[in-house]
Protein backbone atom coordinates (compact mmCIF):
# COMPACT_ATOMS: atom_id res chain seq x y z
CA UNK A 1 0.00 0.00 0.00
CA UNK A 2 0.95 3.63 -0.39
CA UNK A 3 1.12 5.08 3.12
CA UNK A 4 0.94 8.61 4.34
CA UNK A 5 2.04 9.36 7.90
CA UNK A 6 1.45 12.44 10.03
CA UNK A 7 3.43 13.15 13.20
CA UNK A 8 1.73 15.75 15.39
CA UNK A 9 3.71 15.70 18.64
CA UNK A 10 7.16 16.73 19.76
CA UNK A 11 9.76 14.03 20.36
CA UNK A 12 10.36 12.77 23.91
CA UNK A 13 7.38 14.68 25.33
CA UNK A 14 4.97 12.16 23.82
CA UNK A 15 5.39 8.63 22.45
CA UNK A 16 3.88 9.59 19.07
CA UNK A 17 7.28 10.01 17.36
CA UNK A 18 8.56 6.67 18.67
CA UNK A 19 5.39 4.90 17.56
CA UNK A 20 5.64 6.50 14.13
CA UNK A 21 9.27 5.42 13.76
CA UNK A 22 8.54 1.81 14.70
CA UNK A 23 5.48 1.78 12.46
CA UNK A 24 7.48 3.17 9.53
CA UNK A 25 10.19 0.55 9.97
CA UNK A 26 7.63 -2.27 10.11
CA UNK A 27 5.79 -0.96 7.05
CA UNK A 28 9.01 -0.69 5.04
CA UNK A 29 10.08 -4.18 6.14
CA UNK A 30 6.84 -5.47 4.67
CA UNK A 31 7.54 -3.76 1.36
CA UNK A 32 5.00 -0.96 1.66
CA UNK A 33 5.72 2.45 0.22
CA UNK A 34 5.69 5.50 2.47
CA UNK A 35 4.80 8.38 0.17
CA UNK A 36 5.55 11.09 2.69
CA UNK A 37 5.81 11.74 6.42
CA UNK A 38 4.27 15.09 7.29
CA UNK A 39 5.58 16.70 10.48
CA UNK A 40 2.90 18.95 11.85
CA UNK A 41 2.08 20.98 14.98
CA UNK A 42 4.72 20.18 17.65
CA UNK A 43 5.80 17.31 15.40
CA UNK A 44 8.01 19.79 13.53
CA UNK A 45 10.42 19.57 16.49
CA UNK A 46 11.38 16.08 15.32
CA UNK A 47 13.38 17.72 12.54
CA UNK A 48 15.92 19.76 14.46
CA UNK A 49 19.54 18.70 14.24
CA UNK A 50 20.17 20.68 17.43
CA UNK A 51 18.53 17.97 19.49
CA UNK A 52 21.03 16.39 21.83
CA UNK A 53 19.52 13.69 24.04
CA UNK A 54 21.51 12.03 26.80
CA UNK A 55 23.84 9.36 25.51
CA UNK A 56 21.85 6.44 26.97
CA UNK A 57 18.64 7.53 25.20
CA UNK A 58 17.52 7.14 21.61
CA UNK A 59 18.18 9.98 19.17
CA UNK A 60 14.82 10.54 17.53
CA UNK A 61 15.99 12.91 14.78
CA UNK A 62 18.82 10.56 13.79
CA UNK A 63 16.38 7.64 13.71
CA UNK A 64 14.19 9.60 11.32
CA UNK A 65 17.09 10.70 9.14
CA UNK A 66 18.32 7.10 8.85
CA UNK A 67 14.88 5.86 7.79
CA UNK A 68 14.38 8.71 5.35
CA UNK A 69 17.74 8.66 3.63
CA UNK A 70 18.01 4.85 3.42
CA UNK A 71 14.55 4.54 1.89
CA UNK A 72 14.34 7.83 0.03
CA UNK A 73 11.20 8.96 1.88
CA UNK A 74 10.06 12.55 1.77
CA UNK A 75 9.86 14.20 5.19
CA UNK A 76 7.92 17.46 5.05
CA UNK A 77 8.03 19.88 7.97
CA UNK A 78 4.99 22.16 7.98
CA UNK A 79 6.27 25.67 7.34
CA UNK A 80 3.71 27.55 9.41
CA UNK A 81 4.05 25.18 12.36
CA UNK A 82 7.84 25.33 12.05
CA UNK A 83 7.95 29.13 12.02
CA UNK A 84 5.83 29.29 15.16
CA UNK A 85 8.31 27.04 16.94
CA UNK A 86 11.61 28.51 15.78
CA UNK A 87 12.36 25.83 13.22
CA UNK A 88 13.73 26.80 9.80
CA UNK A 89 16.05 25.28 7.23
CA UNK A 90 19.12 26.31 9.19
CA UNK A 91 18.18 23.86 11.96
CA UNK A 92 16.47 21.05 10.08
CA UNK A 93 18.50 17.86 9.80
CA UNK A 94 19.39 15.89 6.67
CA UNK A 95 16.31 14.34 5.10
CA UNK A 96 13.82 16.96 6.29
CA UNK A 97 12.36 19.61 3.97
CA UNK A 98 10.20 22.58 4.95
CA UNK A 99 6.95 22.57 3.00
CA UNK A 100 3.42 23.90 2.91
CA UNK A 101 0.21 22.47 4.30
CA UNK A 102 -0.96 21.77 0.76
CA UNK A 103 1.45 18.85 0.78
CA UNK A 104 -0.71 17.28 3.47
CA UNK A 105 -3.84 17.63 1.34
CA UNK A 106 -1.91 16.13 -1.59
CA UNK A 107 -0.90 13.24 0.63
CA UNK A 108 -4.53 12.63 1.59
CA UNK A 109 -5.44 12.57 -2.10
CA UNK A 110 -2.63 10.20 -3.08
CA UNK A 111 -2.26 7.79 -0.17
CA UNK A 112 -4.14 4.51 0.18
CA UNK A 113 -3.93 4.91 3.93
CA UNK A 114 -3.21 7.82 6.21
CA UNK A 115 -2.04 7.24 9.78
CA UNK A 116 -1.95 10.02 12.36
CA UNK A 117 0.45 9.82 15.29
CA UNK A 118 -0.88 12.29 17.79
CA UNK A 119 -1.60 13.04 21.41
Amino acid sequence: MKLGMIVMESPYQHEASDSAIQFAKAALAKGHEILRVFFYQDGVLNSTKLMEPQSDDRHIQKQWTAIGTENNIEFIVCVAAAKRRGINDTVTAEGFTIGGLGMLTELAIEADRLVEFRA
Binding site: E15, A16, S19, Q22, A26, A27, R113, E116, F117, R118
Partner: protein, 96 residues
Protein backbone atom coordinates in the same frame (compact mmCIF):
# COMPACT_ATOMS: atom_id res chain seq x y z
CA UNK B 1 -12.35 0.93 10.34
CA UNK B 2 -9.34 0.56 12.62
CA UNK B 3 -9.86 2.78 15.64
CA UNK B 4 -6.53 3.70 17.23
CA UNK B 5 -6.59 4.36 20.98
CA UNK B 6 -3.41 5.62 22.62
CA UNK B 7 -4.69 7.05 25.89
CA UNK B 8 -5.22 5.36 29.23
CA UNK B 9 -8.91 4.67 29.90
CA UNK B 10 -8.30 5.82 33.49
CA UNK B 11 -7.36 9.29 32.25
CA UNK B 12 -9.16 9.83 28.97
CA UNK B 13 -12.56 9.44 27.35
CA UNK B 14 -11.09 8.50 23.99
CA UNK B 15 -12.04 4.81 24.12
CA UNK B 16 -15.57 5.65 25.32
CA UNK B 17 -15.86 8.35 22.64
CA UNK B 18 -14.70 5.95 19.95
CA UNK B 19 -17.26 3.35 21.03
CA UNK B 20 -20.11 5.83 20.56
CA UNK B 21 -19.38 5.78 16.83
CA UNK B 22 -17.73 2.42 16.13
CA UNK B 23 -20.09 -0.24 14.82
CA UNK B 24 -19.96 -3.68 16.41
CA UNK B 25 -17.26 -5.79 14.84
CA UNK B 26 -14.99 -2.84 14.04
CA UNK B 27 -11.32 -3.18 14.87
CA UNK B 28 -9.71 -1.28 17.74
CA UNK B 29 -5.98 -1.18 18.43
CA UNK B 30 -4.78 -0.21 21.89
CA UNK B 31 -1.25 1.21 21.80
CA UNK B 32 0.93 3.60 23.82
CA UNK B 33 -1.01 4.31 27.07
CA UNK B 34 -4.11 2.81 25.48
CA UNK B 35 -2.83 -0.66 26.35
CA UNK B 36 -3.85 -0.22 30.00
CA UNK B 37 -7.45 -0.84 28.92
CA UNK B 38 -6.50 -4.45 28.16
CA UNK B 39 -4.76 -5.11 31.48
CA UNK B 40 -6.28 -7.87 33.58
CA UNK B 41 -7.45 -7.27 37.12
CA UNK B 42 -8.40 -3.60 36.86
CA UNK B 43 -11.72 -1.97 37.78
CA UNK B 44 -12.47 -1.82 34.06
CA UNK B 45 -12.07 -5.53 33.43
CA UNK B 46 -15.75 -6.50 33.15
CA UNK B 47 -16.49 -3.50 30.92
CA UNK B 48 -13.50 -4.36 28.75
CA UNK B 49 -14.54 -8.01 28.55
CA UNK B 50 -17.84 -6.90 27.11
CA UNK B 51 -16.08 -4.56 24.64
CA UNK B 52 -13.73 -7.36 23.58
CA UNK B 53 -16.81 -9.45 22.84
CA UNK B 54 -18.38 -6.80 20.61
CA UNK B 55 -15.29 -5.52 18.79
CA UNK B 56 -12.05 -6.94 17.44
CA UNK B 57 -9.62 -5.59 20.02
CA UNK B 58 -5.88 -5.69 19.34
CA UNK B 59 -3.11 -4.66 21.74
CA UNK B 60 0.35 -3.58 20.65
CA UNK B 61 2.92 -5.99 22.05
CA UNK B 62 5.87 -3.59 22.08
CA UNK B 63 3.94 -1.08 24.22
CA UNK B 64 2.82 -3.85 26.62
CA UNK B 65 6.43 -4.97 27.02
CA UNK B 66 7.65 -1.41 27.53
CA UNK B 67 5.18 -1.00 30.40
CA UNK B 68 5.65 -4.41 32.00
CA UNK B 69 2.08 -5.50 31.37
CA UNK B 70 1.81 -9.23 30.71
CA UNK B 71 -1.58 -10.22 32.09
CA UNK B 72 -4.35 -9.31 29.67
CA UNK B 73 -8.10 -9.72 29.73
CA UNK B 74 -9.40 -12.53 27.57
CA UNK B 75 -10.65 -11.90 24.07
CA UNK B 76 -7.99 -9.42 22.98
CA UNK B 77 -5.29 -10.20 20.41
CA UNK B 78 -1.66 -9.18 20.81
CA UNK B 79 -0.05 -7.81 17.65
CA UNK B 80 3.44 -6.51 17.05
CA UNK B 81 4.24 -3.53 14.79
CA UNK B 82 4.19 -5.82 11.75
CA UNK B 83 0.67 -6.87 12.73
CA UNK B 84 -0.27 -3.20 13.27
CA UNK B 85 0.83 -2.50 9.68
CA UNK B 86 -1.31 -5.40 8.44
CA UNK B 87 -4.33 -3.96 10.27
CA UNK B 88 -3.74 -0.58 8.63
CA UNK B 89 -3.55 -2.26 5.23
CA UNK B 90 -6.94 -3.88 5.89
CA UNK B 91 -8.69 -0.81 7.34
CA UNK B 92 -8.88 2.94 7.16
CA UNK B 93 -7.59 4.36 10.44
CA UNK B 94 -9.11 6.77 12.92
CA UNK B 95 -6.78 8.18 15.60
CA UNK B 96 -8.72 9.16 18.72
Amino acid sequence: MLHMINKSPFESMSLDDCLKYASKGSAIILYEDGIYAAMAGTALESKMNSIAGDYKVYVLKEDLMQRGIDKLISGVTEVDYAGFVDLVEEHKTCSW
